[in-house]
């Protein structure tokens, strides 16, 4: 989205510039050539032109829209191609070859374009450009940065530019400038500064310091401390967030199971496959949008949510009516039976969609993230999923505790025969409950499709975790499930940096085992006679 | 391999969790003779409080039962009678207070198993038998004997034991039905079976929670007869709401009325029946 904005504003930029000069053909050929160094030089030379054409050509190169044939270079835009030498529009010759770029060139292009964009009339473009430059503000860019700083009137961008200038000034030869730079950076959130500052503080083998001026060293140490402190805080907040995020994923994966297993007592080994069905439904919705409404493709999730709920619920209801209804009161048989179902569902997906993963793309409004505390990126998809999980929990809680249906569901799961005798159509309730649990699993599948792969094995990866969460929370305890999910998420995320991912997982499992020793009925154990 | 296991699992006379230190309820031995009843009482409950999330089901309860006594306990629904039995058998831990079996055994610190070993047997309010086992096996399991893993593994019934089971079967009128699965018995039959299991276990102190609930009047009379026979041989505590039955078995003995977790009144049946408070909260007019 941001990208599109930039493009739009570049068009604006083009109109605002007055000078118009064609780019030297030699430069263009160098761009198309084989010599990487020459290409970089060409990029920088073109950028130095600072005109509309330069932006156009460099952007096109970055988007791989440039083609070359002999000495001619074409800019392809849709059906048409513009011969950059002559400026004529024409059809792209068949034997023209795309000019490819690699990371090095891409980086050069980025930095060149950012430099150019610092002068864009659009505030956002300038902001993005300033942020992009943060990574490598070098003394060479100083003139450019100073120029931009003087022209800038937006305070946020201005302060950012100031930081950039200070960063570039760290390597200045004048100690006064350096000192000012170090001081200015006291509030910088940029972790990339650390090595530079560390280098200033480092002692050479001969006892001399890289930074000769002791007072600057003092300031540098100060700044370094400030940055370290900020980083530590950021790491803590980061872990907290990661934990909540992991917890929400666990919760979504487990919530359906909390109903089918927790309430109904079905050891539902096919739960994972219901998640998978939800994820595949998302995929199908995306494909439908791509095919029929390519412009609105970002909205596919809005269709996917109800669709996944319905499809999974329908599959669940089908299973319940045909198979599971015969197994109430025989929980262990449900294990065997649903295991069989899970095998069949997995293979069915393999037959229909292939054994490979399918691609589910985040809608653009879910890609990227917000940056907080300087450089901690909280990605949108995770934030949205956290809120989604909370929303689903709330909905389930309301249904189970505030409606007559919920009361019936709980009654039937506790004493099926008596519920029947007081006039509850148990068959219908069973069907609806299992459908609800399956549908919720489908919703979980939609969320999972936004984070991980969508493939026939998707469910298998979550089934063990889901059972752990439900059991840890206490079977049949919705609140327990929620707390267990978030608890496990947090514990995991605070352990992982210390112990590594593998040991963290092992420790978590051991923790679960020990925890159950302490609380044999899970986190939210029911006490008293009613349990027997 | 098996013998290795066995010696690993069970050392004879092994102390185990919950057993109190020196008075030593040694595991696996039925220490019936070990109950120290020198002061004439077999069970003391002192200041027992049981509270469930703030609700005091038992509130400063004091009670003792002497050796060989048959004590009837009555009281309104929810007075805490069953909870008191839970405390005595170790199922529920009191919030405070002490419960002694004999002079030395602190019931509040013993496990259910130890308490059973020490010689307290119980019939539950709702009949609980091993539903998947036959009537015969139910009795076999309950029969007084060494109940450790190893001995159980090699246990074979001798003819004396078989006779004992047969006798009990006759007593509870389930002879001829000994091969039936206990779960298939009717409610009243299960009550009888449970009583049979209790008898064959030969405990010193018998706790009966509503033994005649769901029994026909004739059966009730028989049960009363049975209890009168047992009088003196065991110490017995009976909880019942059937006044006719209570009158029959209490005879001139003491009847205790519980109300809201503590003793409301005690005395002979005639005395309590005449007590205004008892009529008010329990008997009704």
């Amino acid at each position: 989205m941001i990208f599109r904005k930039i493009c739009a504003s570049i068009v604006l930029l083009v109109f605002s510039l007055t000078a118009h000069a064609a780019i030297d053909g030699k430069l263009l050929q160098a761009l198309a050539g084989d010599d990487p160094d020459a290409r970089i030089t060409a990029v920088n030379t073109i950028a130095a032109l600072g005109n509309e054409e330069a932006v156009e050509v460099l952007t096109a190169l970055k988007n791989e829209q440039l083609f070359a044939r002999d000495v001619a270079v074409y800019l392809v835009d849709g059906e048409q191609a513009k011969d950059l030498g002559t400026g004529k529009m024409q059809k792209l010759p068949d034997d023209a070859e795309a000019i490819t770029i690699n990371n090095r060139l891409r980086a050069a292009l980025d930095s060149a374009l950012s430099g150019l964009r610092l002068f864009s009339p659009d505030k956002n473009v300038r902001l993005v450009a300033a942020t992009a430059l943060e990574k490598e503000a070098t003394p060479e860019q100083l003139p450019l940065l100073n120029k931009a700083y003087l022209k800038e009137n937006d305070s946020e961008i201005k302060s950012r530019l100031q930081m950039l200038i200070a960063t570039a000034n760290l390597q200045a030869s004048d100690p006064v400038v350096r000192k000012a730079a170090v001081k200015a950076l006291l509030d910088s959130p940029n972790p990339n500064l650390k090595p530079v500052l560390q280098k200033m503080l480092a002692q050479n083998p001969d006892g001399s310091y890289n930074e000769a001026d002791a007072s600057i060293r003092l300031e540098a140490a100060n700044t370094l401390n400030a940055i370290d402190g900020r980083l530590a805080r950021m790491e803590f907040v980061g872990n907290l967030f990661y934990g909540v995020s992991l917890g929400s994923v666990l919760l979504l994966a487990a919530l359906g199971l909390a109903i089918t297993f927790g309430l109904m007592g079905i050891i539902n080994m096919a739960h994972g496959e219901l998640l998978m069905i939800g994820a595949y439904t998302t995929y199908v919705c995306q494909m439908l949008f791509r095919k029929f409404m390519p412009d609105a493709v970002d909205a596919y999730l809005l269709l996917a949510l109800p669709a996944a709920f319905l499809v999974s619920a329908a599959v669940g209801i089908l299973l319940e009516r045909t198979v599971i209804r015969w197994l109430y009161g025989r929980p262990l048989e449900t294990l065997l039976c649903t295991w069989g179902i899970s095998l069949i569902l997995m293979q069915a997906v393999r037959s229909i969609f292939g054994a490979q993963n399918v691609e589910v793309a985040n809608p653009s409004w879910m890609s990227g993230g917000i940056t907080v505390l300087g450089s901690l990126v909280l990605s949108y998809n995770r934030i949205i999923i956290i809120f989604f999980a909370l929303f689903v929990v709330l909905a389930v809680w309301l249904i189970l505790n505030k409606t007559r249906l919920g009361l019936f569901v709980r009654a039937v799961t506790q004493n099926r025969r008596m519920a029947d005798c007081v006039g509850v159509a148990t068959g219908k309730i069973d069907m609806l409950t299992f459908g609800l649990g399956s549908g919720i699993a489908g919703l979980g599948g939609v969320a999972l499709s936004q984070l991980g792969n969508v493939g026939p094995d998707l469910g298998q990866n979550y089934i063990v975790d889901s059972f752990m969460v439900v059991v840890l929370g206490g079977v049949g305890q919705l609140a327990g499930t929620v707390i267990a999910a978030f608890g496990l998420g947090e514990v995991n995320k605070f352990l992982e940096p210390v112990a590594g991912a593998v040991m963290a997982k092992i420790v978590i499992l051991v923790f679960i085992i020990i925890f159950i020793q302490r609380r044999p009925q899970g986190l939210f154990a029911l006490k008293g006679r009613s349990v027997e | 391999m098996t013998s290795y296991m066995m010696s690993g699992v069970l050392r004879p006379g092994q102390q185990y969790e919950g057993a109190t230190g020196d008075q030593g309820v040694s595991y696996g031995r039925i220490k019936q003779e070990g109950v120290d009843t020198t002061h004439g009482a077999i069970l003391y409950l002192e200041d027992i409080v049981v509270s469930f999330d703030g609700f005091k089901a038992i509130n400063n309860l004091n009670l003792d039962i002497s050796v060989g006594e048959l004590r009837c306990i009555i009281g309104p629904n929810g007075a805490g009678k069953t909870t008191m039995m839970d405390v005595i058998t170790g199922k529920t831990r009191p919030t405070s207070g002490t419960a002694f079996f004999g002079q030395t055994m602190d019931l509040t610190r013993m496990s259910e198993v130890d308490i059973a070993h020490a010689g307290i047997g119980r019939k539950f309010q709702r009949p609980t038998v091993f539903e998947q086992h036959s009537v015969f096996e139910n009795l076999e399991l309950a029969m007084k004997m060494d109940k450790r893993v190893k001995t159980t593994l090699f246990a074979r019934l001798n003819s004396e034991q078989k006779d004992k089971i047969a006798a009990i079967l006759q007593l509870i009128r389930l002879d001829g039905q000994e091969q039936r699965q206990a779960g298939l018995l009717s409610h009243g039959q299960k009550q009888w079976l449970e009583i049979g299991m209790l008898l064959i276990q030969e405990p010193q102190l018998i706790l009966l929670d509503e033994p005649v609930a769901g029994m026909s009047d004739a059966e009730t009379a028989r049960t009363a007869e049975l209890l009168n026979e047992l009088r003196g041989k065991h110490s017995i505590m009976v909880v019942e709401h059937d006044m006719g039955f209570v009158t029959e078995i209490a005879q001139q003995g003491k009847v205790t009325v519980l109300h809201e977790g503590s003793v409301l009144a005690d005395g002979t049946m005639a005395q309590v029946q005449a007590d205004e408070r008892v009529i008010e909260v329990y008997l009704g007019r």
Partner: protein, 369 residues
């Protein structure tokens, strides 16, 4: 005990048709390797080594299923982690087999290849003495046994029951799997142990060795069956079933369920470990995926398909499920999961007592006629 009483006792273990069945199966099972060894390839009576290997492997599975049935079928403890005992037994034996490779490995070192590769100069302490076959055999019993004892002691003491127990066993096997996956744990990472050369000096691929391993497996399987049967028909067996149905009632008549549960649980783990130990040399590989939760669930499924709480059932189940799996994966490689899945569903719906239940149902129907 005199011979006759022993015999009488043995006779009492099973019903007459069951005895006949067991004997017939045992005789056939003994004949297989004999036919394999004594008739040349191509002869009508020749049984292929492949079949022998397959049946050998299935017998190990059957032993594991039998062990599981002892705790699940009779005591009502559903373990979703028996794979870990199986694998530990297998690893214990595997350690010996790795040592027995000697310097014939890829790096021609005294150490197993994976240790050379990790730059380990000596064996870590827990590999001490593993060059002794008998020490490893002791480990086969001790490691699963002790683990089960400790785990069971705490779990049963805390009165963990039902799914809570099942799930922590699953957590246990999962944790072990991850642990064994780590290269640094010292058990060959995810590759585990493989490429064994010899056992007690005999070449492991020699037909004679294979036949011997096969027969030993058969013998152990039968003995385990008799042992388990003897246990469940004893009074202890009835106590176990009482544990399953009403544990608290049992305590009030003076049995401590802790020790009873712990006894079968540990015994079951040991049997499962032995199954694993027999499995390694016959299959030729042991790696941590044996500890994956799915594998343990499969064991439960063998028992369920055959009919739980019957001892013979799980054995039949292990053979049926694995036999079908072997056949299906070759005959319909694309569709076999449908067939297997359907089988599980049908078994639950129409054969509540598993395959064995079906047999007795037929018998009952024929009887009155």
């Amino acid at each position: 005990m005199s011979a006759t009483t022993t015999f009488a006792m043995a006779k009492g273990l099973f019903s007459k048709p069951a005895w006949t069945g067991i004997l017939v199966c045992a005789v056939i099972a003994v004949l297989l390797p004999i036919l394999n060894l004594s008739f040349p390839v191509g002869h009508a009576l020749h049984i292929s080594s492949y079949t022998i290997a397959l049946v050998g492997k299935f017998m190990c599975y059957a032993l594991a299923a039998l062990a599981l049935d002892l705790v699940w079928g009779y005591t009502g403890i559903l373990s979703l982690g028996h794979g870990v005992f199986f694998a530990l037994g297998a690893y214990a034996h595997g350690m010996y087999l790795m040592r027995a490779i000697g310097r014939d490995g890829v790096y021609q070192s005294n150490l197993p290849d994976f240790m050379v590769f990790l730059d380990w100069k000596t064996y870590p302490w827990y590999w001490a003495m593993t060059d002794s076959f008998w020490y490893c055999m002791a480990l086969v019993i001790l490691v699963p046994g002790v683990l089960a004892f400790i785990f069971g002691f705490f779990a049963f003491r805390s009165r963990i029951k039902g799914v809570y127990f099942s799930i922590i066993t699953q957590a246990m096997t999962f944790a072990f799997m991850l642990l064994f996956f780590r290269n640094n744990t010292g058990f060959g990472g995810n590759n585990g142990f493989t490429d064994f050369k010899r056992i007690l000096g005999f070449t492991i691929t020699a037909p004679g060795t294979k036949a011997a391993l096969y027969l030993i497996t058969l013998l152990i399987l039968l003995s385990a069956l008799f042992l388990c049967r003897w246990i469940v028909t004893s009074k202890l067996g009835r106590v176990l079933q009482a544990v399953r149905d009403s544990e608290s009632r049992l305590m009030f008549i003076g049995y401590n369920p802790l020790w009873f549960k712990l006894f079968v649980w540990t015994l079951s783990a040991i049997l499962c470990g032995i199954a694993g130990a027999l499995y390694v040399p016959q299959v030729g590989i042991i790696n941590p995926s044996e500890m994956s939760p799915a594998n343990s669930i499969e064991m439960v499924i063998w028992a369920a398909v055959g009919g739980r709480g019957t001892l013979l059932g799980p054995i039949i189940g292990a053979f049926t499920v694995n036999g079908l799996k072997s056949w299906f994966t070759a005959a319909f490689p694309d569709l076999w999961l449908y067939a297997l899945g359907l089988l599980f569903i049908l078994v639950t719906l129409f054969m509540q007592q598993g395959v064995l239940g079906l047999v007795s149902k037929f018998k009952k129907q024929r009887e009155p006629a």
